[in-house]
């Protein structure tokens, strides 16, 4: 068992849960009475969301660069192929469980080959 310390785990769960709640409550706290939020806030909220998700996709791929050096694994062919299949299926069928399951199973097969 590698894992993290018990203290880290408890602090992590409580802090992440509490902060998630607080951020979700912010619009209600700030604009619950008066109504209109400032345009800059709405703009940043809107554009930051896709930017952050794109960043997390790169973050995931950075993890593969670390764990499976591209030079030894056909330049991350498995990762890019599984990613492309996930996106293609999702673009066409719009079903998150289908796209995620298909991409993941394909990846699990590919990592055994390459």
């Amino acid at each position: 068992m590698t894992g993290c310390s018990m203290r880290y785990l408890v602090v992590l769960i409580v802090a992440v849960g509490a902060l998630s709640w607080l951020i979700r409550a912010l619009p209600f706290l700030l604009f619950g009475r008066s109504g209109e939020p400032p345009k800059l806030v709405v703009y940043i909220g809107r554009v930051l969301s896709p930017a952050a998700i794109a960043m997390l996709v790169v973050y995931c791929y950075a993890g593969y660069v670390r764990d499976r050096p591209p030079a030894e694994h056909l330049g991350m062919l498995a990762e890019f192929a599984a990613g492309a299949v996930t996106v293609a299926l999702h673009w066409r069928w719009r079903s998150p469980p289908l796209s995620i399951a298909a991409g993941t199973i394909l990846y699990m097969i590919l990592v055994r080959l390459f």
Binding site: S20, V58, I100
Partner: protein, 232 residues
């Protein structure tokens, strides 16, 4: 209900992942606790990553803020709907705002009082499916005997799925590109100086700073595009 299948399956995969890769004793307990409090797919998958690498709490909380901004934005359009709800109910409804729940809540055309009851019912059900899926996944993953190499791709696939959905709206494509380029750039620069492992660990905060700066600089252009998109 389609949400049951969706949250059940995605939660189940996150639970399996936690049990297989988290290296925790009693994964089902931690799965139940974290899913009950986070109520978020992305955070549930990232949780496994944090537990595995003991990522610094500062970086974790930073990413928590970013991930919840999306839900906070949803909240803006629910202020009216939730206003008359009792405080406890309102706090729970707010905690339970997620992609699917929000989509059903704004699509609902009932009169206010009935709509509030509908939202509460929906939030409780979705929350339940999610916690049940994650917990059962952790239980199943704990007794898994076949090797599960590569199952961590479920997290990558989840983010790709969310990104794909966001990019159906043209207005989101440029911001997504900015985020992707910023992340690749920061990772490349850090990897060259600190090595790949350290770069991956430290990339999020500088990337966010770069992204916000770039998005503020591009505001005129991107907001102009927003009006064009709306009138079209």
């Amino acid at each position: 209900m389609p949400v049951m299948a969706g949250y059940g399956t995605m939660g189940f995969a996150a639970g399996v992942l936690l049990a297989v890769q988290g290296g925790l004793s009693l994964p089902a307990l931690w799965a139940a606790l974290s899913s009950a409090l986070f109520i978020s797919g992305p955070l549930q998958y990232l949780f496994v990553d944090w537990v595995r690498t003991s990522l610094a709490l500062g970086s974790v909380l930073f990413i928590v803020v970013c991930m919840n901004l999306r839900y906070a934005l949803y909240g803006l359009s629910l202020i009216e709907t939730f206003r008359e709800a009792r405080l406890g109910t309102r706090l729970y409804l707010i905690a339970g705002i997620t992609d699917e729940t929000y989509a059903l809540e704004v699509a609902c055309r009932l009169p206010p009082a009935a709509k509030r009851r509908y939202c509460l019912y929906l939030t409780v059900l979705d929350h339940f499916y999610w916690v049940a899926g994650v917990t059962l996944g952790a239980l199943a993953g704990g007794s898994l005997t076949v090797p599960a190499d590569g199952i961590d791709f479920a997290m990558t696939a989840l983010f790709l799925v969310i990104l794909t959905d966001q990019c159906r709206d043209r207005r989101n494509r440029m911001p997504a590109l900015v985020g992707g380029i910023a992340a690749v750039g920061v990772f490349a620069v850090l990897a060259a100086s600190l090595g790949v492992a350290a770069a991956r660990m430290d990339m999020l905060i500088p990337t966010m700073a770069l992204m916000v700066t770039a998005l503020l600089a591009l505001r005129k252009r991107l907001e102009g595009g927003a009006d064009g998109g709306r009138s079209a």
